[in-house]
Amino acid sequence: MITEEDFSMDELVKKLKKPEMGAIVTFLGVVRDEGIRGMEVDVYDEMADEELAKLERDALEKFEVEAVEIVHRKGSLKVGENIVVILVGAKHRKDAFMACEYLIDELKERVPIWKKELEEKSAQN
C-alpha cells in the first residue's frame, strides 16, 4: 500500500498475525541523517500499487510464508521518519528472514518510487 500517513507497527502486526505463524520479521526503512533536511518521496501510484501487489504474490509463491504486507509512504519526510515497512509472517524464522530480505531488495529494483534528498536548511541561505 502507498500512503502519505505514518503507520503503526503494532496495528500492522496485529492484522498480519495468523495462528500458524511462529515468526514475524519486519524491515523498517527510515530517513537517515546524512546532512539532509529530509526526503521527498515521489510515486507513480497506479503502477506502484500493481508492482507491490505483484511483489507480495511473488513472495508467497517463492517462500514458505503465510502472509506479507508492504506499506510505503510518499510525500515529504523528515529525518527519523518511517519510509517503508515490510512485514513477513511464517511458520519458521528462516523463511521469514529470506522473504523479507528478498522483498526489500526487489522493491528497490522494481517499484516506481523515487526519493529525492532535501538539502539542509543552512544550505538554503
Binding site: 526503512g29 518521496v41 515521489d42 510515486v43 507513480y44 497506479e46 503502477m47 506502484a48 500493481e50 510505503h72 519510509i83 517503508v84 526489500i104 522493491l107 528497490k108 529494483e109 522494481r110 517499484v111 516506481p112 518510487i113 523515487w114 526519493k115 529525492k116
Partner: protein
C-alpha cells in the same frame, strides 16, 4: 492514420519536461522507442537520464507497439525503499 497516446513523467523526467503529462498525436504503429526519441528531440536534457518506460502501468520493452489511448510513462531508475 494518427493515434493519441498519453505520456506521463516522473521524478527527474518531470522536472526536465516541466509537466506531469502530455497528450501526443503520433503515427499509428509507433513503438515506445519512437516516443522516447520524440521526447528527447523536444527535451534534449532527457538524454542525460537513463530512461525507463512503462505502457499502461506495466514495464514495457522499447520495441513495444502502442495503441490508441495507451498510457506511456517515462522515468529514471527507481530508488524507493
Amino acid at each position: 492514420m494518427k493515434m493519441k497516446v498519453e505520456v506521463q513523467f516522473f521524478a527527474r523526467c518531470r522536472e526536465i519536461v516541466g509537466e506531469k503529462k502530455k497528450e501526443l498525436e503520433v503515427e499509428e504503429g509507433m513503438r515506445v522507442k519512437d516516443i522516447i526519441d520524440l521526447l528527447i528531440s523536444e527535451y534534449p536534457e532527457l538524454k542525460k537520464v537513463k530512461l525507463i518506460a512503462s505502457r499502461n502501468h506495466k514495464y514495457a520493452a522499447l520495441n513495444t507497439k502502442l495503441k490508441e489511448r495507451d498510457v506511456v510513462a517515462v522515468f529514471p531508475p527507481v530508488s524507493g525503499g
